[in-house]
Subunit: 481 residues, 2 copies
């Protein structure tokens, strides 16, 4: 009775689309996945689009989403392929001009995030999808249009047919469509023709470019097991207007990203030999790790890409929904982009579980999911933007460090206070993003009022002190008057 | 030497696209206009899309843009086909439950806006375009894609070819592309693939539906020359949550628009016989003008449409630019949508005049235009949204009326003050929208501080009064104490 299975069409076979396929198959749906690019597991597939993908941070939300996907072995395979990062390693120079580095732990309880290679994660997910029954994976297909009324998608193979003529388009019927096709989602733009969607996209005034720190060839007792610097940290070179970060890879290299304004990129591109001097004055020590000759090469060879922030509401039509970057592309400064996308899948399927698997039931599930998830998507989008400040300037600011210390002190010594840093709430828990934002704003107010509350205490204390002091000397002379 | 003319491709033959064609031809460019719909001057063309167009308000900006378009007769023909509106006519009921109406003049100097039928205006513009040399008008062509790098547009005829097969696509080369293709602009979505454009679209929680008040059959000395109510006003039925307006047409009817929340529309659609009661309790007197039987018919027959507000920045790519609704669709509450679009054309060509007619010169003109115009587009967009409050609630609010009175008093009696109402600045002048917003905000602050400044005057006056009064009686008793 294969005809009676719910036909689920998934556009995009990245991490989010692949995970969605696992969840959908686990529900007993008949799943068709179409991906624009080739199968990245084949050596012939140009990895072009995946060199553009920085190493990602996998945290609790992403892990929790993969835990219940129907493939019991998947999560362990994924975790085995990651490197724990226990905190940030800040690179700076001291007042004598010497290179220094100091760690900021992410969590007083020792919890950590994991560096993961997007391509390796994607391969593991695709392998799992491939061995799952009732799922068909199709690569090299471009979505042309979707008719959400008749529930038909038109796709075109991107590989030219042998005759040399344009390949024939393909019509796919679906009961439900999951759009996991990234920031420039075609599912989204098609959906916007069928339903009223508020939408905004903003390019941040900042471009990025990837660099690589190769494994170390030095083997000394103090060497970092073949890594050029300590592997269990997310390395940060903050500077006033720019940012350079490095994330460890399993092959003992670091995948690094330069973030700088468009103007700076234009300035550097005009004379790429400026890059070394720029690095020396902004990110002390980084150029030496990359290799001074490599630096300019990589800057010229690797693409210079914009940062896009996308919000939309709702995320759904009664016949389909957009997930991941398609619904909420965000800047990478919280390391939550992929985690939020994977969590979308988990949350979405929890709504399918609440309703009967009929057209009406699925439509209601999509509506409820969208209403629940939109505020969370907006919240993490805003938090990610705000975190840029923390990463490039905040980590060195005394106010930030005092706040972090107070929060950690309360979290450790007064657990009943419920105080926890925003970072811990976002990265080590699965609390709703919108709740995290609200709670952390409340914590901030409490800390502010705590400080304000200290004022009378200090004043009263000071007055009592004066009295006491008065009784013992100078004051007494006045007092007995 | 026709080959050496600059090739200008215009997408969209609405009022903005047609006016742009006149300006471009006047510059000596070779102009190709492609319009998705049929020629609306042909009786065979379904006017469907134009019943959806409410009567528009033509004001100084639109007029000024048509004044210098190269066709000296056009403006007078357009103006002859309009009806002056000197102010708002507010319809309400008094405390005895009787229908009342009272006028609010737009301007103390008697300046007025003009009611114009969008289709009639468009026809006049198309006639003018057609008789202009070096312009070719093409209807029934859908833009498929634009390659802004190679400056090639692909268009498809929408009329099926006689053989019944899909009609062949058409490639058009251009030096410069003007996208005048409305709120759902394809030029814009194509441009967004080639350049970084910040973009937002928001659906306002309000739908609209068109109604018609037929000409009056009653001919009495007090009748309005065949109009069902006074023709020289924009009629407003304000209500707490909804709005109904009527704009006169040359054929002595009124084109009316109901604005109400989606929820209200859903409520009414469920049982359309509710509409009469809804009108009676929200818009007293309006149902009688439309005809009580017609009311329900028209509500069911005419489309229920959303309101879309669009902002983007920049408006250009070095090879093209978007104008009118494509760049800044706005809610209709300021009657400035079309005026802003026509003004775009005038402003754009003033920038072309400043630069040589070369690829580089035009590219710089587009860049400067976009930088100049974006803040104005954002400003009128915001003002239009804010004006909804004025139209549905403000017109009856005492604060609004006091402010209007003070501004008008100052404008009339103290012209050197430069005070003028926001409405007059937007509708009767061509001052930049962004400047209007700034100036009016300043005026508001001055009036507020004026009021605050009155406080010491009143206090001192009161004190002097008490003193004076005191000297003459009760006070003296205290005073001599």
């Amino acid at each position: 009775m294969a005809e009676q299975r719910t036909k689920c069409l998934i556009i995009g076979a990245g991490p989010v689309g692949s995970l969605a396929a696992l969840y959908a198959a686990d529900r007993g749906w008949d799943v068709q996945v179409y991906e624009l690019r080739g199968d990245l597991r084949l050596p012939s597939t140009t990895p072009l689009n995946f060199t553009r993908s920085i190493n990602l941070a996998l945290s609790e939300r992403g892990i929790s989403a993969m835990r219940n996907c129907g493939d019991a072995d998947l999560l362990q395979q994924v975790l085995d392929d990651t490197i724990p990062m226990y905190g940030r390693m800040i690179h700076d120079i001291n007042t004598y001009g010497e290179l220094i580095e100091y760690a900021q732990q992410y969590d007083i309880h020792g919890r950590f995030i994991r560096a993961v290679d997007r391509a390796r994660l994607n391969k593991l997910l695709l392998d799992s999808v491939e061995k799952t029954p009732h799922v068909q994976l199709n690569f090299n297909h471009k979505l042309q249009r979707v008719d959400f009324k008749t529930r038909k998608a038109t796709l075109c193979p991107t590989t030219p047919s042998p005759a040399g003529v344009g390949p024939p388009a393909l019509e796919v019927n679906f009961d439900i469509l999951l759009g996991c096709d990234g920031a420039y989602s075609r599912v989204r733009s098609q959906m916007m023709k069928f339903t009223e969607i508020n939408f905004s996209q903003a390019y941040i005034d900042m471009h990025w470019c990837e660099f690589t720190i190769p494994p170390s060839t030095i083997k000394t007792p103090t060497s970092n097991d073949g890594f050029a610097t300590s592997p269990n940290y997310l390395h940060i070179w903050p500077s006033e207007k720019n940012l350079f970060i490095a994330i460890p890879s399993v092959d003992r290299s670091f995948t690094c990203t330069l973030f700088a304004s468009r103007e700076t990129f234009t300035y550097l591109k005009r004379k790429p030999e400026r890059i070394l001097n720029f690095f020396e004055s902004n990110f002390p020590g980084a150029a030496a790790l990359i290799g001074e000759n490599e630096l300019q090469d990589q800057f010229e060879r690797n693409p210079h890409l914009p940062l896009l922030s996308i919000k939309c509401a709702p995320h759904h039509h009664p016949a389909g929904v957009i997930l991941g970057d398609a619904a909420h592309a965000m800047v990478p400064f919280y390391g939550q982009g992929m985690n939020a996308g994977l969590e979308d899948v988990k949350v979405l399927f929890s709504y399918f579980d609440k309703h009967p698997d009929t057209e009406e039931g699925r439509g209601r599930a999509l509506g409820e999911y969208s209403q629940y998830r939109v505020p969370d998507a907006h919240a993490i989008n805003d938090l990610a933007l705000a975190n840029y400040w923390e990463m490039h300037a905040g980590v060195k600011s005394p106010v930030y460090r005092v706040r972090k210390w107070v929060e950690e002190f309360l979290a450790e010594r007064v657990p009943s206070s419920g105080f926890e840093t925003q970072y811990a709430r976002v990265s080590f828990r699965v609390e709703r993003y919108s709740v995290v934002r609200r709670v952390v704003e409340r914590q901030g107010r409490i800390m502010l009022w705590g400080l304000v509350g200290l004022v009378p205490v200090v004043v009263v204390g000071f007055w009592l002190g004066i009295r006491g002091w008065g009784r013992m000397g100078w004051g007494r002379m006045g007092w007995v008057r």
